[in-house]
C-alpha cells in the first residue's frame, strides 16, 4: 500500500514525488511512456540530442536569488542552483509585419523599446506593470484571475497593435484558451517572460530531468516506466488504487494525477460520462532544422522570436487546415550566453513552432501524413524567414513532430500542449483523495509545472498526512 501514487513522470509528477519522498512517504510514480519528461522530454536521433517542448526555461533568476518561483522551487526540492545550470538568453524579439520590440532578462529593455516604438503608450504600460497580480494572489481565489486579459489590457493600452504584440509571446508560452486569456494567467506569463526572462541549461531539458529523477530515487521514491494507468478504482467515493495497462493492481491512500482533467476523469471507474468538449484545442507542429553553421553566422542572434503576419494576432486552432503558419515561434538554443568553459552548441539549430489542428493530422493515412510533414515544414519555414534571415540553404537535417506525435507520447487529449482552457486551480476533483497537478491545475512551462507539483503535494498530501 502506497501513501501516494503519482500518475505521470513529467515535471510536476517528479516534483511532487520529491516532496513526498523527502517527507518519508511511500510514493510511486507511474509513467506510460518508456521515458520521463511528459510534455518536456528529449530524444536522440541520428546521433543528435533533441529537446521536445523546452525552448526556454522562463522565470530566469541569477544564482542565489531569494525571490521568485525559481528560487522557491529550488528551496522546496532541496536542489542547488548549479543543478539547473541555467544560462541567460542573449535577447528575444516580438516581430509583427510592421513593428518590432526587443526584450531580454533586463525588464527595462522592453520598457525602452515601447517608449521608442509606441511613445504615447509608455505611461499606460508602466501602470499595467504596477497593477499586475502578484504570484501570491494567484491561488485562484482572487476574482480578478478570471477576467479577460484583453479587456484589462485595453484599459491601460490604447494602441491595438501594442496590445497584440504584448499578448503574442504570452499566449504562445502558456495560454490554453483560444482568442483571449485569463488575466491571472496573463500576469503569471508576463512576470515569467517579460520581468524575469529566459534561460536554458547547455545540455537542455535532460539535465533538469536527470536531477529531478536522481533526487527522487535518492529519497527512496519508486519510478515505474512503461506502466500506464488504465483505471482508477473507486469505492464509496474514494480512490482505492489503480489498475495498470497490463492488469497489475496497485493500492494507495491517495492519488495525484498529472494526466490532465479530462484524461484523469476518464480513468475513474465511477464515471461513465466525461465532458470531452472541455479538452483544449490548441496544438502545434514543431520543426527542428540542423544547420551547417551557427545561426549568428547568417546574422541571427535572437534567442526567441515570436512572429505574426499582419497587425492582428490570431490565437485559435486552424479549423480548415492542418496548420496556420501566420504566427509562430522561432527558437535557437545556440543563442544563450553559455560559459566559456562549457562552450556553445556544436551545430546550429533553428526550431519553429506553428499552430496545428489535431484532428486533421490524426485523420491522415501514413503516406499523406509523411507528405504533410514535409509540406507543412516548408510552409512554416517560408513564413518564419519573413522575420529572420533565410537559413534554408544551410539546412543539413530536419525533424518534425505534430499534434499526433504529442498525443501519442503524452496521451493529452487533442495533443493540447497547454491542456484544458478551464483550469482546476485548487487541484481538487470529485473524489476526496484524488488530486490534479501539472498542466490542467493551471501552471504551465517547466517552472510552472514544477511549482504545480510542489504546491499540490504540500496542500493535499503533506499537511493533512
Amino acid at each position: 500500500m502506497y501513501d501516494t501514487l503519482i500518475i505521470g513522470a513529467g515535471m510536476s509528477g517528479l516534483a511532487a514525488g520529491i516532496r513526498l519522498a523527502h517527507f518519508d512517504q511511500k510514493v510511486c510514480i507511474l509513467e506510460r511512456h518508456y521515458t520521463i519528461g511528459g510534455l518536456n522530454s528529449f530524444y536522440r536521433m541520428s546521433g543528435r540530442d533533441f529537446d521536445v517542448g523546452l525552448h526556454a526555461v522562463t522565470n530566469y533568476a541569477e544564482k542565489g536569488a531569494r525571490r521568485g518561483p525559481l528560487a522557491k522551487l529550488i528551496r522546496q526540492l532541496r536542489l542547488g542552483w548549479d543543478d539547473f545550470q541555467l544560462r541567460p538568453q542573449i535577447g528575444s524579439s516580438i516581430r509583427f509585419s510592421d513593428a518590432e520590440l526587443d526584450f531580454s532578462n533586463d525588464a527595462s529593455l522592453l520598457e525602452s523599446e515601447i517608449d521608442r516604438v509606441f511613445p504615447g503608450q509608455i505611461d499606460g504600460f508602466r501602470r499595467l506593470v504596477s497593477n499586475l497580480l502578484d504570484y501570491d494572489d494567484l491561488d485562484g481565489e482572487n476574482p480578478l484571475f478570471l477576467r479577460s486579459a484583453r479587456e484589462v489590457l485595453a484599459h491601460y493600452i490604447t494602441a491595438p497593435l501594442l496590445r497584440e504584440m504584448l499578448l503574442c509571446p504570452l499566449m504562445w508560452y502558456g495560454n490554453a484558451r483560444e482568442r483571449d486569456m485569463d488575466f491571472g494567467q496573463f500576469c503569471i506569463m508576463f512576470r515569467a517572460c517579460y520581468l524575469e526572462g529566459f534561460g536554458r541549461p547547455r545540455k537542455g531539458v535532460r539535465l533538469i530531468l536527470k536531477h529531478l529523477v536522481r533526487k527522487f530515487r535518492g529519497l527512496g521514491g519508486e519510478l515505474k516506466l512503461r506502466s500506464g494507468v488504465a483505471k482508477i478504482k473507486v469505492v464509496n467515493r474514494r480512490a482505492i488504487g489503480v489498475v495498470l495497462d497490463d492488469g497489475t493492481e496497485i493500492e494507495a491512500k491517495r492519488i495525484l494525477s498529472s494526466a490532465g482533467t479530462v484524461e484523469t476523469m476518464r480513468l475513474c471507474d465511477d464515471l461513465t460520462q466525461i465532458e470531452v468538449a472541455a479538452a483544449g484545442q490548441l496544438s502545434f507542429i514543431e520543426s527542428i532544422s540542423v544547420l551547417d553553421c551557427q545561426p549568428k553566422e547568417i546574422g541571427f542572434d535572437r534567442t526567441i522570436v515570436f512572429y505574426n503576419q499582419g497587425p492582428e494576432f490570431i490565437w485559435e486552432h486552424p479549423e480548415d487546415d492542418l496548420c496556420d503558419p501566420r504566427t509562430g515561434v522561432i527558437c535557437s538554443p545556440n543563442n544563450y550566453l553559455y560559459s566559456p568553459e562549457e562552450g556553445g552548441l556544436s551545430e546550429g539549430i533553428i526550431r519553429i513552432t506553428t499552430l496545428a489542428n489535431h484532428d486533421r493530422w490524426s485523420q491522415l493515412g501514413d503516406g499523406a501524413y509523411r507528405a504533410a510533414k514535409i509540406s507543412q515544414y516548408n510552409a512554416a519555414v517560408a513564413s518564419s524567414v519573413e522575420f529572420m534571415p533565410d537559413f534554408r540553404q544551410h539546412v543539413i537535417a530536419t525533424d518534425i513532430f505534430t499534434p499526433k506525435t504529442i498525443r501519442r507520447f503524452t496521451w493529452h487529449e487533442n495533443g493540447a500542449v497547454y491542456g484544458a482552457p478551464e483550469k482546476r486551480l485548487d487541484g481538487s476533483t470529485h473524489l476526496d483523495n484524488l488530486f490534479l497537478c501539472g498542466t490542467d491545475q493551471g501552471f504551465v512551462g517547466i517552472v510552472g509545472a514544477i511549482v504545480s507539483g510542489i504546491s499540490i503535494a504540500n496542500r493535499y498530501c503533506l499537511s493533512s498526512a
Partner: protein, 86 residues
C-alpha cells in the same frame, strides 16, 4: 536538547532549505521572513522538518512562534528538552 542545541538544529534545517544562504551572521532577534525572505511554504517546511527529524508536532495556530530564531528557540525549548541529540 539545550537551547544552544535547538538553535544549531534550526540552523541545520535552514541550511537544508536554503543551502546557498550564509547563516553565520544570522541575527536571532530579526524575523526570518525579513532576513532570509522565507515565505509560508518555507515555514511549513521548518515545521515538517521538525516533525520528520524529531517527531515534534507544531499545531498550525502556533506557527507564529517561529518568526525569528529567538522566538523559535523559546517556543521549542519545552517541547524538545527531553530529546537527546544524536
Amino acid at each position: 536538547m539545550t537551547p544552544v542545541e535547538i538553535r544549531e538544529e534550526i540552523i541545520d534545517i535552514l541550511g537544508d532549505i536554503a543551502p546557498d544562504e550564509d547563516l553565520s551572521d544570522l541575527n536571532d532577534g530579526i524575523a526570518f521572513r525579513e532576513q532570509l525572505e522565507l515565505d509560508s511554504m518555507d515555514f511549513l517546511d521548518i515545521v515538517m522538518e521538525l516533525r520528520k527529524r524529531h517527531r515534534v508536532q507544531i499545531p498550525e495556530e502556533d506557527y507564529g512562534h517561529l518568526a525569528s530564531m529567538h522566538s523559535t528557540v523559546t517556543y521549542l525549548e519545552p517541547k524538545m528538552k527531553d530529546i537527546v541529540r544524536t
